[in-house]
């Protein structure tokens, strides 16, 4: 892999950028691999990268039905944070957050992680109790966080309406300074390039049509380019987990729903942090290009269309105008939907399945992008050792049967 650097850019400029190598090979699928990862999104590519990098398992193929990073990796609002309530979730997300600052160097690809801080607003006394509880728990878990007063918020986010006469006045907020945003596509591309350099085959435009199971063990995946045999198969296909699970005769406690988002036209810098509000229901940040990036709600129904219903957008923009009255004259440039796999407890499922050698990593709901490095790391570890990584263990599929749910509805940012 040719290392990227400012010097490299200058060098290539001398050659008019005519001899930049491919970021990753266009691999032809071989007949068999140690591990086949189904799904070339951020999580799948990260899993492949850590399998090769940490565990030395590079006989790996990532099979993607469309293009790398084409699912939720490329359709989210790029927020990164770890201020989750329950210990298990906080540890997992914070493990991921710890990997973010060094990720650009690690991958030699600038993922533009921008730790500009994340605010979660509280509008009612109960929300403030929940914020206190969560921030206290975060701090005891070694996760940064503090509770800000409306006055502190006003100073930090001048355009935010902190008026006591608002319909739902802002009573305070939690503040996680290490949180922020990153460039979503770059995460997929960075992992893809780094995994490819370690020998992983990236196979695009190849839908998996079946999962072959023999004697209770996985034997490979069927694709429209033929069978690809594998000792282990790992499925990381947010938005389509149920479909893949059905191929192996499994059911999942998941409903897939459209989660909508939108961007405004680009504006001069006016918001230098991430503001999330559960009660009035929106989250918002400003991309480096100047667009306001706004997360709206999930549609109420199951849906695989990467679009949603308009009233969701209406509510979210009413919330934006309520929180930021000056944004009322700003215009929406583009709206879209991603498909989020939502678990009953708003936490992911990571780990083994009843089928030997078959692993699932799914159900991240709204938490997928921020967890990408951590998810890939613990999933790779789980696959390599055929046992759950300690951080992943509480997120086993079996938790539903035991009733050991990890209820994160309060922290998921969206009331499902």
């Amino acid at each position: 892999m040719e290392r990227y650097s400012l010097f490299g850019l200058l060098k290539h400029a001398l050659h008019h950028h005519e001899d930049w190598p491919r970021a990753w090979r266009d691999a032809e699928p071989r007949s068999s691999y140690d591990v086949v990862i189904v799904g070339g999104g951020g999580h799948g590519l990260a899993t492949a990268y850590y399998l090769a990098k940490v565990h030395g398992i590079s006989d790996v193929a990532v099979v993607e039905k469309g293009w790398l990073g084409g699912g939720n990796t490329g359709r989210n609002t790029t927020i990164v944070r770890s201020n989750y309530l329950r210990d298990e979730a906080a540890w997992l997300y914070d493990f991921a957050l710890e990997l973010w600052p060094d990720l650009s160097r690690e991958l030699n690809f600038n993922v533009m992680f921008s730790p500009r801080g994340v605010l979660n607003l509280g509008h009612t006394l109960q929300e403030m109790r929940d914020i206190e509880r969560r921030v206290n728990a975060n701090r005891l878990n070694g996760i940064d966080g503090e509770v800000l007063s409306p006055a502190e918020l006003e100073a930090r986010v001048p355009l935010l309406n902190c008026s006591a006469s608002a319909r739902y006045p802002v009573l305070g907020a939690s503040w996680q300074p290490r949180g922020g945003v990153a460039r979503h596509d770059a995460v997929a591309w960075g992992y893809a390039r780094a995994a490819d350099a370690l020998g992983v085959d990236l196979i695009q435009q190849t839908p998996v049509t079946g999962i072959r199971v023999e004697d209770g063990r996985v034997a490979g995946v069927e694709t429209d380019r033929g069978l690809i045999a594998a000792r282990k198969v790992a499925c990381v296909v947010a938005g389509h987990s149920g479909v893949l699970a059905a191929m192996a005769g499994l059911r999942l406690p998941i409903e897939s729903r459209p989660l909508q988002a939108l961007v405004s036209e680009p504006l001069k810098p006016c918001l230098d942090t991430v503001v999330m509000s559960n009660a009035v229901h929106c989250y918002i940040s400003q991309a480096d290009k100047g667009d306001l990036v706004i997360g709206a709600g999930a549609d109420g129904y199951t849906g695989y269309g990467q679009r949603g219903s308009f009233h969701i957008i209406e509510h979210s923009l009413a919330a934006v105008c309520e929180l930021f009255p000056a944004f009322s004259r700003v215009r929406m440039n583009r709206q879209w939907g991603g498909i989020v796999d939502i678990c009953p407890d708003a936490c992911p499922i990571i780990g083994k399945t009843p089928v030997g050698g078959l692993y699932f990593n799914c159900g991240w709901g709204t938490g997928g992008f921020k967890s990408t490095p951590g998810s890939g790391y613990v999933f790779a570890d789980t696959i390599a050792h055929d046992r759950p990584h300690p951080l992943a263990a509480p997120f086993a599929l079996s938790r539903f049967e035991r009733g050991a749910l990890i209820d994160e509805h309060g922290a998921a940012g969206v009331a499902h």
Partner: protein
Amino acid sequence: MLLLQCPHCLEARSEEEFDYAGEAHIQRPATDVSDAEWADYLYFRSNPQGRHCEMWVHTAGCRRYFNVVRDTVSYDVLAVYPIGERERESLVGKPPP
């Protein structure tokens, strides 16, 4: 923005009048089932990519629940029918027209 025909009010109305109420035709098991079977009833859903039997409630209308067969990709509504009627099995599982 879906348009649903309430089988009780007999009028097509915009989605905003309704609330989605989850997958339809899930049989609530007797209480002597295993934990796994109980968990399956509580949490596990078919979540298909294609035709889906689901319940909606006409919240801002007659407040009655009803069943819908809807394609989860095209969002086409293929049938609406009252609670208690049998699943429109003939509609589910077939490829779209």
